[in-house]
Symmetry: C2
Subunit: 230 residues, 2 copies
């Protein structure tokens, strides 16, 4: 047992892929964490992730581990940084290729595989294993940068949403406040939203218009060389 049968002329680090999964409940940004069942850091919370197999890419590894540990399938993960500090892991030298993904809370069915997977609000994150607090800070910064220039926010909302929900999301991520009317106009002027229905003329005013993200329009506009610049 415990044979050491993979041998090299020079020392090799182990490589893991970890996933910072963002969600949004209408009020605050949430993070999907799993509780570690084994040492080291047993009982502590950490990002889904694990060791990369020798015949998979980092992205494939991230997706596989994510599904194994949380039941979340087909998330569109994106690499954002590789952490290579010497003593990240007490067991051996481990470098971690960190990814992030934005998912709809509704798509993550609790239970099943993910007995110990749990959503935490950004302002209520427990103590994390390894250097995962540093990874989280970096992921959050990347999210803030990214959402200003790519319409990734829509991945966090239901398919159909109101302008106020969209504004709440932007305000939660960027930690700022926008004027409601200006946000409304700015968003519509971008031309990447479609009103779900022309809204009946006699509808009560209080019932807000609903929109969906128009991916075709966006890729059109992008090709013509326009930038979001939020």
């Amino acid at each position: 047992m415990n044979e050491l049968k993979f041998c090299y002329k020079y020392p090799h680090p182990a490589v893991t892929a970890d996933c910072v999964i963002f969600g949004f409940d209408g009020v605050s940004i949430k993070i999907l964490l799993i509780q570690r069942g084994i040492e080291p850091y047993k009982g502590k919370w950490a990002f889904p992730g694990g060791f990369m197999k020798i015949d998979e890419t980092a992205e494939e590894c991230a997706k596989r581990e994510l599904e194994e540990e949380t039941g979340l399938k087909n998330a569109s993960v994106e690499q954002f940084y590789t952490f290579s500090d010497i003593n990240r892991d007490p067991r051996e030298r481990v470098i971690s290729i960190a990814h992030y993904a934005l998912v709809r809370l509704s798509e993550v069915k609790g239970g099943d595989d993910a007995a110990s997977a749990k959503w935490y609000a950004m302002n209520d994150i427990p103590s994390l294993a390894f250097d995962h607090d540093r990874i989280l800070r970096m992921a959050m910064n990347r999210l803030k940068e990214r959402i200003c220039f790519e319409p990734i926010g829509f991945d966090l909302l239901p398919e159909i949403f109101t302008m106020t929900e969209l504004q709440n999301l932007y305000e939660a991520i960027l930690e700022v406040k926008f004027d409601r009317r200006n946000f409304y106009n700015k968003m519509l002027k971008l031309g990447i939203l479609t009103e779900t229905e022309p809204r009946p003329a006699n509808a009560p005013r209080r019932m807000p218009s609903k929109y969906r993200f128009n991916a075709e329009k966006y890729s059109e506009l992008k090709q013509k060389g326009f930038r979001l610049e939020f």
Copy 2:
């Protein structure tokens, strides 16, 4: 000899750090390449870089290899992507943590260690080893993104430069043309440039004003939460 003395329970990939080094000669963006002296890809051009030691971080490795192979010291390298395709390297599974840096051409003394290091203009890049053409494309994209929001361009120019030189740099990187007067005004209005001398009133007009990047002003402004948005 050739003992395989580092053994693990599971297979481990090898890890390298590679460096895409950008320069600017006043007209076009240049890349520093080295010619490979050994197989695989012997004779082909590649980025400086090499295998990570077990007691150094990726960034340390990138800097060390850069100095060893090109003589370039103390470059401020920044990681931008980790390449993990299965068959990147015919020898064994190798993942590469790619970095980039911006340096002044004048700071790279040819010769010495770097017998086979050479600058190539962006539009005249030879066939590259491994997947380095893909790495180059990605680095260039990252540079384009980055220079719009961080004043990194100044690392490519001499300490003291004219507005026209700065404009040429931006145009070379972003592959666009700016109106000279608008560029001039926009840059000055940012408040991150210092005129080297108040410019004598009777100076000939044709002699352009010279500027330097004011790092203090920039970090001041940045703290107050302003963005470049070029």
